[in-house]
């Protein structure tokens, strides 16, 4: 089976996505100081997700099956959440940056990692698959 660089491409995109989550988490912290205690929970969750993103990215480069499955699940959730947000009449941002980050990025990650051939390259998640 010839090598593919799709996992490496996905690693780059995951690294970017993790940074966006990290910045979102950090951006909530001033509001915690301003008297919004629950924002700390969201900040922590965002940072944890950022860490999971990087960890999964490393797993992808090492061709771990769990990493591929984790990323696909997270990205499908992100995509569904974004589509729901865009469908609801709540005035969600529809600018090019928002569409790139919240729609194109998860969709690109799903496209890069989906399919039978990619599943075969990642194996079942054990170290032997690498």
């Amino acid at each position: 089976m010839s090598e593919t660089s799709r996992p490496e491409a996905a690693f780059v995109l995951l690294l970017m996505q993790a940074t966006f989550w990290l910045l979102a988490g950090v951006s909530a912290l001033p509001f915690v100081l301003g008297g919004e205690p629950y924002m700390l929970l969201l900040a922590a969750f965002s940072m944890a997700l950022a860490a999971l993103g990087v960890w999964s990215g490393v797993g992808l480069v090492r061709r771990r099956g769990w990493a591929r499955r984790t990323v696909l699940v997270v990205e499908w959730i992100c995509l569904a959440g974004t589509l729901l947000q865009l469908a609801l009449p709540i005035g969600a941002n529809r600018g090019p940056v928002s569409l790139l980050v919240n729609l194109v990025l998860p969709a690109a990650l799903i496209l890069l990692l989906r399919g039978r051939s990619m599943r075969a390259r990642f194996g079942t998640g054990s170290r032997r698959a690498a």
């Binding site: 979102a24 509001f31 929970l41 005035g91 600018g95 919240n102």
Partner: protein
């Protein structure tokens, strides 16, 4: 920051047209097809950013020829790099060019040569992705770059550059909002600039009627009995209280304001003023006082159902995980306490006023 500068719209259009053409060109090129997918993606992304830069030249040519020349150089260089991925120094040249372009934009924004907008930020995202694709090592590559230190450098360098750029753009946007964005996320209604005598009189009348109508709510128990409820944390200096019964109207009725604003003082809630709100997003209300009573609409706010709390969306259009991005319908405040910095209809109450009430 969340708008598309009208002069930049052409760049966005050009980028959208260029993307499928660049993909097609790379797929048809035998030389490109033989290269790793990451390199192919980088070539597509560099071609897109090249076209965006080239499309923006005519606009800049008249008013800023230096930028136009830089864009020309950028466009030609990126197109050349996209076309010649087999060049020996391709990775070095591409990454240097991409980093220089990203930092150049940050310089332009932070030194206020240009305001941040969606086209600029989207182009930077394309360039960040291209940079990552250029630098990421792939398997079976010669010469081999798959070293731990290289991966560590990539995994810290790219996010760091993203964070620095995002923060730099954000700080600038918050520190120097344009005239209609009075503070981050609040878009002011367009009005005439100087109020006429009639507008002045109408604003005074609105103020007096509202102040008289909400006077009973100085006792928050009365407000509670009338159906007003806190719509957020009461640990903040002030909290908006909303009345669901008035959500759909009437519009700007001093006797039935949609909201009340209370300062959260150590001796209980102290009434600061009223808030009128439109029933729908994207609709400003009647503006009898012209510039004195301009409505404002909070856009790109991150709302968390947990605790009913708010934060602001980042320049990369993300909210903390669990919060949703929304826009609040347009609103107009009427402050019945003295608000020296902005007056009785200002978007915000002066924090010093709230702090002073807490001290009394």
């Amino acid at each position: 920051m969340y708008d598309i500068a009208p002069d930049h719209a052409i760049g966005l259009l050009a980028g959208l047209i260029a993307a499928p053409l660049a993909i097609l060109a790379v797929r048809l090129s035998r030389m490109h097809r033989a290269l790793p997918g990451t390199v192919q993606i980088a070539c597509v992304l560099m071609a897109v950013t090249a076209v965006i830069h080239l499309a923006l030249i005519p606009h800049h040519l008249g008013e800023d020829p230096i930028t136009a020349v830089l864009f020309l150089g950028n466009g030609i260089a990126f197109l050349a790099l996209a076309a010649a991925p087999r060049w020996r120094w391709w990775r070095l040249a591409s990454s240097a060019m991409l980093v220089a372009t990203i930092l150049g934009y940050l310089f332009y924004v932070d030194f206020r040569v240009e305001g941040p907008d969606q086209v600029g930020l989207a182009t930077k995202l394309v360039e960040f992705a291209a940079l990552g694709m250029v630098l990421v090592p792939v398997r079976d590559e010669r010469p081999m770059r798959d070293r731990s230190w290289y991966w560590a450098l990539l995994a810290t360098g790219l996010p760091l550059l993203l964070l620095v750029s995002g923060s730099g753009v954000w700080v600038e946007a918050l520190a120097h909002p344009d005239t209609r964005h009075v503070h981050a996320g609040a878009l002011l209604q367009s009005t005439n600039s100087v109020p006429s005598a009639e507008q002045q009189a109408a604003a005074t009348q609105l103020y007096e009627q509202t102040a008289a109508a909400i006077a009973p709510y100085e006792d928050w128990h009365v407000a509670w009995a009338a159906g007003y409820r806190p719509a957020g944390s009461v640990d903040m200096p002030s909290t908006h209280w909303f009345n669901k019964a008035y959500e759909k109207g009437p519009v700007m009725d001093p006797r039935h304001p949609q909201g009340l604003v209370y300062a959260n003082t150590h001796h209980g809630p102290v009434l600061l003023g009223a808030m009128f709100q439109m029933p729908r997003i994207g609709q400003f209300g009647p503006d009898p006082g012209g510039p004195l009573t301009a409505w404002h609409q909070h856009e790109n706010i991150c709302f968390s159902i947990v605790g009913l709390e708010f934060s602001l969306m980042t320049p990369y259009a993300t909210c903390p995980v669990g919060a949703i991005d929304l826009t609040a319908p347009a609103m107009l405040h009427v402050w019945i306490v003295d608000n020296p910095t902005g007056g009785p209809f200002a978007v915000d109450i002066d924090p010093k006023v709230v702090a002073a009430l807490d001290r009394t």
